[in-house]
């Protein structure tokens, strides 16, 4: 049971053929945070009983055609769309982010890194919006140290759409300055993570599940999961979900 006697938040981690960060996400939610968590097979048609769905990293369908392009037509994605449109919390990490943009649940596209290389390293990201369920325990301008590992993380949105984006994280240097040198993949305006307008869908290239335990070299990723858990434990969250369901993504 969570605080205030509410039922413990229940997370679902979607498993596509080729997902490879699914177990990491499950482990963090279940064993680090002691929350309810279950795997959701990509052929599932319902997400009943879940409060937050995670689309994990990996190489769904071998990244054939374009990253995320085939996974977005999995049966489970219809359920994810319905869940998201009714205000359910959705997090897409790395390949999960790629699937969300292909599905049109988030704007823009993720292209090949400008270096043409797969980049696997620790980066810094700055919090650009702390008014979301995923970041409300952070302060504006906070810098998180977090790993990335991707070949297609170069975020793009047409110039006319850039101004309307709900940017949540940008790549920055250790001091929190947005510089070209701190941009690991060529993303437009150093964008590392975005939310939809309503703020209930988050897509990000960095991996919070890989830095939620001191043993793994950092714990900044915890802030994202802690934000979600505390957000779901507030009684008003239920009401907000109902409000969301009347608006369109």
């Amino acid at each position: 049971m969570g605080i205030r006697g509410l039922k413990m938040p229940n997370f679902g981690v979607v498993v596509f053929p080729g997902s490879n960060c699914d177990h990491d996400c499950y482990h963090v939610i279940k064993h680090v945070f002691d929350q309810g968590c279950e795997f959701v097979w990509h052929e599932e048609k319902s997400l009943g009983g879940l409060n937050c769905v995670i689309l994990p990293g990996g190489f769904s369908y071998g990244d054939y055609l374009r990253t995320g392009a085939i996974a977005r037509f999995s049966p489970v994605m219809k359920a994810v769309e319905k869940f998201a449109l009714s205000g359910g919390l959705v997090i897409g990490i790395c390949n999960g982010f790629q699937i969300l943009v292909e599905a049109g649940l988030l704007p823009g596209a993720l292209m090949k890194n400008s270096s043409l290389k797969f980049v696997c390293k620790w980066v810094n990201i700055r919090v650009e919006n702390n008014n979301t369920p995923f970041t409300h325990l952070m302060k504006m301008g906070d810098v998180l140290r977090i790993p990335i590992a991707h070949g297609d993380g170069n975020y793009f949105a047409p110039p006319d759409d850039i101004r309307d984006l709900n940017v949540v994280f940008r790549y920055c240097n250790r001091g929190g300055r947005i510089t070209p040198e701190s941009n690991p993949n060529g993303s437009i305006e150093n964008i590392a993570g975005i939310c939809n307008r309503q703020g209930n869908i988050l897509g990000m290239m960095p991996h919070p599940e890989r830095c939620s335990e001191e043993l793994l070299g950092g714990e900044d990723g915890r802030l994202i999961f802690e934000s979600v858990i505390s957000w779901l434990e507030r009684p008003e969250s239920i009401r907000e979900i109902k409000t969301y369901s009347r608006t369109k993504v």
Partner: protein, 82 residues
């Protein structure tokens, strides 16, 4: 029912930088092909389609491109039906 061969060219939109094309351009210059001004790399997708007529095929394939074969945010496509 007739059988058609459909060729779909998928290219990055002109406003999108193409780092792969740029790397290949540099390689061509290194080989001495200085006359090459620009290189853009895309994809060629071939489909074998059974349908009644070419117009139908073209319409259906355009739909396939918008839904799956190309990403309209970053890519343009051209459909040729033979």
């Amino acid at each position: 029912m007739k059988e058609f061969i459909v060729k779909i060219e998928v290219k990055l939109k002109p406003i999108i930088l193409d780092p792969q094309g740029k790397a290949v351009l540099t390689a061509l210059h290194n080989l001495g092909y200085d006359e090459v001004q620009e290189t853009r790399i895309g994809k060629l997708i071939e489909l074998k389609v059974k349908d009644e007529n070419a117009e139908n095929v073209k319409e259906r394939v355009q739909e396939m491109c918008k839904k799956l074969l190309a990403n309209p945010v970053i890519e343009d496509f051209v459909v040729k039906v033979d």
